[in-house]
Symmetry: C2
Subunit: 344 residues, 2 copies
């Protein structure tokens, strides 16, 4: 490496645009560890994500966009817990020192760090295949974090934004033949790129869901898969059939196919017969899935409206296990964990 | 992958041996984030380290030993800050699911996690070249963390344990021809392996250094290089020569070559002419380097004695910049940042 590790950190990661001061950060970069001061009535939320080249992003991805995406996907986890972002750490493995890449990547990080007042407080820079691990730290009022385990039968299920756009972006990146109208217009390309690299993470909405949402998470593996985490985590403890111990019964959900929010670019580029499945199972949305008692419907929609976040009621939590989709023709199909052949 | 990510986590990383409960951990694995409760009078210390295959450890390294090393090197950073370990996160990239490797690796982690009451509270498991990033979290009394910036001229410099053993272990792993008496005895091999994979991290000593140590860090890049971080961070603000602003003058240090603690295996296996340089510049020691005013000498040595930690006075912090070594013959040489030709 032409630059030493310390020179590299000083030049790209200890700059004021990334290593800025803020309350709760008692000590940032430069020692054996960073120091956070957590106010009395708060808990610290920690969330970590790794993005590997050619697994999670193309090796030649634009470094500025990549820097944004890396931090945004972590902030999305904080949003899903209802936390205010405070600071992040970065563990970066680089095959070589590419100053152009580093300059762009650190600018991408700084753009998001500045937007959310979330400075870089520490990390590790090492040689190795390109890999980016970020841990984001946020604060919630003690006991007010939005967990996956609070959903109850009868709760409404909402999602923010539209689903499936990042999956279409992946189709485009991978040259998937199902993509309609190719080559894409500049505007469509920009739209897909934004969906993949610059998801609208719902930090402000998340922070204001305390006392309203019964459960929530961010949609990273597709709504169908992620909703299942809520159904499992919110399983109720029911008396077992006469034996000792408890049997935790998983909850179920019914989603209305018609209600799944789809973007204009999505409906134009994805064949009609693929749309529902892609929207429910395509990953990387980083929208929130929120469960809430029907009594909070008005408050929740009002809040979303006030924050100018699109929020759509897509279904309900039910007592009977399984994930059912109510199709347009009134028919219901079950979406199982291991196959979606019902849809083909 | 034969196992899904969730099955893999459930089997190897959510087991009771790793995901155990302890105070301050309000929520562990399984949600979008973990929750830590930091007591009122404490600050949270965070430290992150990445180990990449074939850069930081041999691709074929024993997974049980590797699991121990990964967590120990992070706990060493907490020790250097004077913190009590609380919990850690793990970001693991795996080229494939090797259940034998995972079983051993997770057992290695669990051995250390259990010893230090430091459970695994979250993480990310992804596909990619073998890479292990751990972030450790600890607690210190507010304002009591041991920083790099507190050293003052006249302070004594101490190191724990012996230096250079891990560097010899690397010689052995890499088949370095300088290694004397090859093949090694079983006992010597075991000693080197322990130095590399199971360093004695000084957590208990670190926690008890508040009010005694003026500065400290753990030795990961070699004492010479790491001590320089203290000299830079502890630079005093002196009046500049008539211009506005301040000029921060770096401190210096004098080390006594005779005093550098070397192990028996080190002195037998390393040629006499290489010993000093290897002990001062070989990495991966994970011993503590501690600075303290001479008035604390008795308390410090008494504490080390009580904890059965070997602690050696190796030199002093001085006003005049640079790192000087006082050789056995009374001569002094300067160890510069970019070359050690004085010694060859």
């Amino acid at each position: 490496m032409a630059l030493t590790e310390f020179e590299l950190i000083a030049r790209y990661f200890a700059a004021q645009s990334l290593a800025f001061k803020r309350s709760c950060v008692a000590l940032g970069q430069g020692d054996d560890g960073a120091l956070l001061q957590v106010p009395d009535s708060r808990q610290l939320v920690l969330s970590v994500d790794t993005l590997n080249a050619s697994i999670h992003f193309p090796e030649k991805a634009d470094a500025f966009l990549l820097g944004q995406r890396c931090l945004l996907v972590n902030l999305s986890d904080l949003a899903a817990m209802g936390a205010e972002p405070v600071a992040f750490t970065l563990a970066l493995s680089l095959p070589e020192v590419d100053t152009d890449w580093l300059e762009k990547f650190s600018r991408g990080l700084a753009a998001v760090a500045g937007q959310f007042n979330c400075p870089l407080i520490g990390g590790d820079t090492t040689r190795g295949p390109l890999s980016i691990t970020i841990q984001a730290h946020g604060l919630v009022e003690t006991g007010q974090a939005i967990l996956r385990s609070g959903a109850r039968p009868g709760d409404d299920i909402y999602v923010t934004g539209t689903l499936g756009d990042a999956a279409v972006a992946l189709w485009q990146l991978q040259g998937d033949s199902r993509l309609q109208s190719s080559p894409l217009s500049e505007a469509d390309l920009a739209c897909l790129q934004r969906a993949f690299y610059q998801p609208d993470v719902r930090v402000e909405l998340g922070r204001r869901l305390a006392g309203i949402a019964s459960a929530g998470l961010d949609i990273s593996d597709g709504l169908a898969s992620d909703l299942r985490h809520i159904l499992k985590a919110s399983a109720g403890a029911a008396p077992s059939n006469g034996t000792d111990g408890e049997h935790r019964t998983e909850l179920g959900a019914v989603l209305n196919a018609d209600a799944i929010p789809l973007s204009d670019v999505f409906t134009r580029l994805v064949p009609a017969e693929d749309q529902l499945l892609l929207a429910l199972t395509g990953g990387d949305d980083y929208e929130l899935c929120i469960c809430a008692s029907p009594q909070h419907k008005r408050a929740l929609l009002g809040l979303a409206n006030q924050l100018e976040v699109s929020l759509t009621l897509v279904g309900q939590i039910v007592q009977s296990p399984g994930l059912k989709i109510r199709l347009k023709d009134g028919q219901s199909v079950e979406l199982t964990e291991h196959g979606y052949q019902h849809f083909s």
